[in-house]
Symmetry: C2
C-alpha cells in the first residue's frame, strides 16, 4: 500500500532522520545519568548543557533560563498552576485568551476552582485576540496573562509583543505558549517580553516526550514535579538525555532551514487557499489570511461533516485532521472555532491542513484533487 | 581510551540495543500522534496499546490500569499530591517510610505544608522497614501509605505484601515505588495488594523520559498534568510513542531474561560482598545480606571520603556512585543511610555497586582490584 500523504504536521511532526541519528549514540554507547558524578555522567551532562545552550540561543534566552520538561503541556501546567499559586498572596486575577490550548485552559479552570478569578478573552472573527481588549482587563490584582504565539487549530499568529510590553511595564507575569511557532517562525523571548514560554520538540521535527519551559531570570519557578535537584531544582526526575539531545539537534536544523521552509510552505499554503476558495463551493478560510503560520490552512465547508471528511480523505490516502488531537472523539465543536463565532455546522465541517518539511507540491496537488472529489461525493 | 566499566546501573541503565531497534521506526517511518483520527494515528495508538498490554501483563494488572508518564518521579507526584489532595475530606494522615525516594519524600513534605500529618517510619538497622511499626501507626484518618519495593541506594527489598494486605483490609490507599524492582525481580500488583505502583523504563534497559503509574481500577486518579484527554483523562500531553514502544520492548526482554540475569547477578553480588568484607579492612555492608536486589551491593568504608573514592575509581576507569544521582553534589550524608543509624563518617564513606546486563565477571574482578588499591592509597 502506498504511504499516506501526511498533512497533520501541527499534530506531530515526524522526527527528522538527522535528529534520530544524533540521538542514537545516547541510548547505548554514550548513555548516562546527567546527575551522576563519574565521567560517563559528566559526558551526559555536557551533551545536555550543549542542547540547553543551543535552544537558549535560538530563542534569545540564557541557558539558565531553560527548564527541560516532558513537553509543552507539562510546561503550561507548571507555568500556570505552580506560578499562580505561588503568587496567590499578591493577587488572584488571571487573563487568558479563550482559544488557548487545552493544557492552558484546563489549568485556568483549576485556578478558578482554587479561588482565582479568570477572565477569558475571545478573539475577533479573524482569530486575532485584540491586545487592547486584553490590556483593558488588567487590574491591580492581575498576576498572570497567557496568550499563545500561534493557535494550534486555525494557525493565527497573535500580537504577543503588544501584550508583552504592557505586562512587563506593569510587572505582570506573561506566559506565551509557543508550541506551534518555535522552529516555524522566529521566536525571541526578549522581543516578545514574555516571562514564561513553553514548547514541545515533536512540533519541530524533534522527538515526542520532551520540551522546555523558558522562565525569565528573576521569575521564581517552583517545580510542578517534586523530587531530585535536576534542572536546578525546577523539575525533578532523571533527565531524558537522548530526547534532550534530539531537541537540540532539531533546533540546529531549524536554525539552518527555517527561513527557506517558511517561505516555501507559505507559498504552498497560499496556493491551497486560493484553490479551495475558488474551486470548492461553500468553502471558507478560518483565521486571518496573512497573520497565520506558514504551514497552516484551516477551512470550513458548508453541508459537510468534518469527521466524515477526515475519514473519507484517510481512505483516499490523506492523513489529516480537523484540529487538535488532544480532544479528538468528543463530537463537540472546537472551542476555538466556537470562539470565532462560527455556527455549529461550520465548526463541525472544518479541516486543518498543516504541511511540513516533507510535503511536496505533488502531495498538495493530490490532496486538493481528492478534497474536491470527496466533498462532492459527501454532498450528494 | 578504554571504555569505563559501568557499575551504576541503579542510576540509569543503558538502553538495550534491541529496544533502540524497536523504537527507531516510530520516529520517522511509523511516527504519529496516538490521538489523531487517521490511519497513521490509529497505527500509533495500536503500538501504544500493545505496549500497555505487555506492561500490564508483566505486573499482573489490566491495561486500563496503566497510565504512561514521563517517569517514576512524575508517577509518585501524581500518586501522592493529586490523590492525597482529592482525599483531603476523608482524612489527613499519611504514613511513609523514611527511606523513600526524594520524589516521594518531597511530595510528603509538601502535603505537610498543606495541612496533612505525615508519619515517617525509620527502617531497622538492616534497612528493612518493620511492617508492624508501620501498621501500628494507622489511624481512622489515614488515607495513604507509601513504601517502596526496594531502596534505590542500599537495595533492600521491603515487606510490601505485609503492608498491602492490611492497607487493603482497611481501605487505605497503598503506593509502592517499584522503580528499582520492575525487570529485576518479580513484581505483581495483585500479590502486593497495592493501589498505586510507579516505575521508570530507564531502570530496566528502556529509554529515559518514560515510565508508568499503575492505578488500581476503582482508584479515582486525577491528573497531575491537566489538558488533553490522553491516557483516559489521567495524563495530558502527546504520548511519547517511541518511548512507550521502547518501554514495552524492554519489558518483553526482561520477561525472557529476568530469571537468569537475577540468578547470575546475585552470584556476582555475593562474590563482591565476600571479597570486600574479607579483603578490605574497615569495610561493612549496608542493608540486609539476603533481602536485597540481585544487582546491588552497598558498602561503607572507615576513614574514607566517598566522593574522593568515586573520583579515584572514575580515574581508574570505573563509573560508580555513592548513591542516588538525584541529590548528588549536596555534600550531605544520604537520608537513607542516616535513617539506618550510620555515623556521618560511614554514611559519607559509602559506595553503591550496581551491576547489570553487560557486567562480566572480568569487570567485577577489575573493579575489586582497583577498589582495594584505591582505598589503600586514599588511607595513606
Amino acid at each position: 500500500m502506498k504511504k499516506p500523504i501526511y498533512l497533520d504536521y501541527a499534530s506531530t511532526t515526524p522526527t527528522d532522520p538527522l535528529v534520530v541519528q544524533a540521538m542514537t549514540p545516547f541510548f547505548f554507547e554514550s548513555f548516562g545519568n546527567a546527575s551522576s558524578p563519574h565521567s560517563i555522567g559528566q559526558k551526559a551532562r555536557k551533551a545536555l548543557e550543549d542542547s540547553r545552550a543551543v535552544l537558549a540561543n535560538f530563542i534569545g534566552a540564557k541557558p539558565s533560563e531553560i527548564v527541560f520538561t516532558s513537553g509543552a503541556s507539562e510546561g503550561n501546567n507548571q507555568a500556570i498552576l505552580t506560578l499562580a499559586l505561588s503568587l496567590f498572596g499578591k493577587g488572584r486575577h488571571v487573563i487568558i485568551s479563550a482559544i488557548e490550548h487545552h493544557s492552558v485552559l484546563e489549568c485556568a479552570k483549576r485556578l478558578g476552582k482554587l479561588g482565582f478569578q479568570v477572565d477569558l478573552v475571545k478573539p475577533q472573527p479573524d482569530g486575532i485576540v485584540d491586545s487592547a481588549s486584553m490590556i483593558q482587563l488588567i487590574r491591580e490584582d492581575t498576576i498572570l496573562i497567557a496568550l499563545h504565539h500561534a493557535n494550534n487549530e486555525i494557525g493565527v499568529i497573535q500580537p504577543v509583543e503588544e501584550i508583552g510590553v504592557v505586562a512587563r511595564q506593569k510587572g505582570i507575569c506573561f506566559l506565551v505558549d509557543a508550541t506551534q511557532t518555535v522552529g516555524h517562525i522566529p521566536v525571541d523571548v526578549k522581543k516578545i517580553s514574555c516571562d514564561l514560554l513553553s514548547l514541545s520538540a515533536h512540533k519541530f521535527y524533534g522527538p515526542q516526550g520532551v520540551g522546555a519551559l523558558y522562565a525569565r531570570e528573576g521569575i521564581h519557578l517552583e517545580p510542578r514535579l517534586y523530587g531530585g535537584d535536576q534542572e536546578t531544582g525546577r523539575r525533578a526526575g532523571t533527565q531524558n538525555l537522548p530526547g534532550i539531545v534530539g531537541l537540540g539537534q532539531a533546533i540546529e536544523l531549524c536554525q539552518k532551514k527555517m527561513e527557506k521552509e517558511a517561505r516555501e510552505q507559505a507559498a504552498l499554503r497560499d496556493y491551497m487557499i486560493e484553490f479551495v476558495l475558488t474551486n470548492i463551493k461553500g468553502s471558507s478560510l478560518n483565521g486571518h489570511r496573512q497573520m497565520r503560520l506558514p504551514n497552516n490552512a484551516h477551512f470550513s465547508f458548508e453541508k459537510i461533516n468534518g469527521e466524515e471528511l477526515v475519514t473519507a480523505l484517510d481512505m483516499a490516502g490523506i492523513a489529516i485532521s480537523q484540529g487538535s488531537a488532544c480532544k479528538w472523539g468528543t463530537l463537540e465543536p472546537s472551542h476555538a472555532l466556537k470562539a470565532l463565532g462560527l455556527s455549529d455546522e461550520l465548526a463541525l465541517g472544518s479541516l486543518r491542513v498543516s504541511i511540513g518539511r516533507w510535503t511536496s507540491k505533488e502531495d498538495v496537488d493530490c490532496f486538493l484533487e481528492q478534497l474536491k472529489s470527496v466533498i462532492e461525493k459527501l454532498r450528494k
